[in-house]
């Protein structure tokens, strides 16, 4: 059992760029001392609203990519959806704004030792961290098939370079405005069979994760999920982001900022998850 985020640092970083991608925003942050240690699946926490902010709590974001930039050093990229006052403030900031950053936080996607066949299943902006994961999987010789779902076309996150990394991309939308009309789980079983999928990674809304896990369990395919729970701190002290998880034969409320966000689907006590 993990107890703390050992690699976490707290620093001030500069917002290097911000641009709109569909209904989302793509942010690039200078994050010296944080980006270097980040692994696919990790997240960061940002303070919002400036020094006299009435918004006291951390806003947490999955890392889309972390890399060394030739002119700016260690940078972290985020895909941010507007979901309230905090993210509204964040996406209204201009390049050069200084932000307080804490990270990297949480667990990362465990990578298979062998070159296996992998499906990545992303819902909405939850697809973002999966493309970075796909890079790492491809480097290990894995085949990667992506299934990207959203309510509507403007909420599909499937960047061009990400699409080039993976072997195939299947898009689904609830309203049929892009790709196949329906849910990711409508197309997943067929892809599992056709590509002989050995392993599934998913990130997106809780209902989608659960539906994917139902399929993974029924076919006995290992499934790593990245959950998104409401967090106040992201560093393990507020106890708000807990998820009911199996620990031995007991269900325990476990902090998803420390023992998640990436969790083995089998460990989640789905029936006890609040809806």
């Amino acid at each position: 059992m993990r107890q703390i985020n050992k690699a976490a640092r707290h620093t001030t970083g500069r917002l290097l760029s911000i641009r709109k991608v569909g209904t989302y925003f793509h942010l690039v942050l200078q994050a010296e001392g944080i980006a270097e240690g980040a692994k696919p699946g990790n997240f960061i926490a940002l303070s919002v609203g400036g020094d006299q902010s009435s918004m006291l709590l951390h806003r947490v974001f999955a890392i889309y990519r972390s890399r060394q930039d030739p002119s700016h050093g260690a940078v972290i990229e985020l895909i941010v959806a507007r979901s309230g006052k905090g993210s509204d403030w964040l996406v209204a900031q201009s390049e050069g704004t200084l932000l307080k950053i804490t990270g990297p936080l949480g667990t990362s996607f465990p990578l298979p030792a062998d070159p296996v066949n992998v499906a990545i299943v992303g819902g909405g902006y939850g697809a973002a961290p999966l493309f970075d994961l796909a890079d790492h999987l491809k480097a290990r010789g894995c085949r990667v098939d992506a299934i990207i779902g959203a309510a509507t076309s403007s909420k599909v996150f499937a960047p061009l370079e990400g699409k080039r990394t993976v072997n195939s991309v299947t898009v689904t939308t609830d309203d049929g405005s892009a790709g196949i009309q329906g849910r990711v789980t409508d197309v997943l079983p067929e892809i599992i069979t056709r590509q002989r999928i050995d392993l599934i990674y998913s990130c997106g809304p809780m209902a989608m994760l659960r539906a994917v896990d139902d399929i993974a369990r029924s076919l006995s395919i290992p499934h790593q999920v990245s959950v998104e729970e409401a967090m106040a701190c992201g560093v393990g002290i507020c106890m708000t982001c807990v998820l009911p998880m199996m620990r031995g034969d007991k269900v325990k409320m476990v902090r998803t900022c420390i023992e998640g966000p990436v969790i083995d689907g089998e460990e989640i006590a789905w029936d006890e998850v609040a809806r």
């Binding site: 107890q3 703390i4 985020n5 050992k6 976490a8 640092r9 707290h10 303070s47 009435s54 918004m55 006291l56 709590l57 951390h58 905090g86 307080k100 804490t102 729970e229 409401a230 106040a232 701190c233 560093v235 393990g236 002290i237 507020c238 106890m239 708000t240 807990v242 998820l243 269900v251 325990k252 409320m253 420390i258 609040a274």
Partner: protein, 308 residues
Amino acid sequence: MTLDFSTTIAGVRFKNPIFTASGCAASGKELSQFFPLKELGAVVTKSIMLKARSGRPTPRMAETPSGMLNSIGLQGPGIDAFIEEDLAWLQTQSCDVIVSIAGETVDEYGALARRLRGQRGIKAIEVNISCPNVANRGQVFSCDPVTARAAIEAVRINLGGEFPIIAKLSPDVTDIVAIAREVIEAGADGLALINTLLGMVINPKTLRPHLAGKTGGLSGPAIRPVAVRAIFQVRERFPSVAIVGMGGVVHGEDALELVAAGADAVSIGTASFGNPMSVIEIRDRLSTLIQDHGFTRFSDAVGVAHER
């Protein structure tokens, strides 16, 4: 000119007056990756109960203007696992520790105190008789003078004078001075003022309470004026009792407000959630501000707002 930044709570000296607030720093390990815990005046642990507890269902949190509601429900490992693991680890950190305890019954408070006797590395016991996140609001011991007194007496008798007792009170009472009097008479050496205020948020989409537990404890700068008022009133009536102040301190200026009202030490809670370095930033700023006001000893600034 150097500042004597130390403070004394019920006869125990602490190197500086900035503490963590119970329930906002777990048992210290999570913050220790950002700074050494010995930089703090004291680590106040989350409130430990007799048995392990899984707490309330989610959602447990709602951000509110300049604050937040929480309904964690005292999730924790229970006293035995706490002593074996958390306290043992804290003893290796060369930091001063105040252990916070919470019972469901008067007997449980006594049992918790008995269990802590003889434990090394504890400077004081905070008796949390004011957690609002219990199923029965009638169980908030500090809302009733009789139960407030009974809980503190149980701790005093079972602790055998080994550690000073700090009683943590709720501001959700008509007269906090009256409750303070009861617990002082029952043997409390100091007071922790204030715990969260009971609040509720209704989700505008579902038109139902946002928290699964319906009500939660309100913390953050939204409650700071309530904390300042409570500290001021209690200090006015009890000039010599030790007071650990808390309630929405985010900046050094806020900490100084509580000190001027009468706090001998200041605990930082919600601010740590949005910035894990808050405690250190507040400590350093408070030290500067106190010197700017011309004080050479921190203790001279305590309660200065009461002077004419």
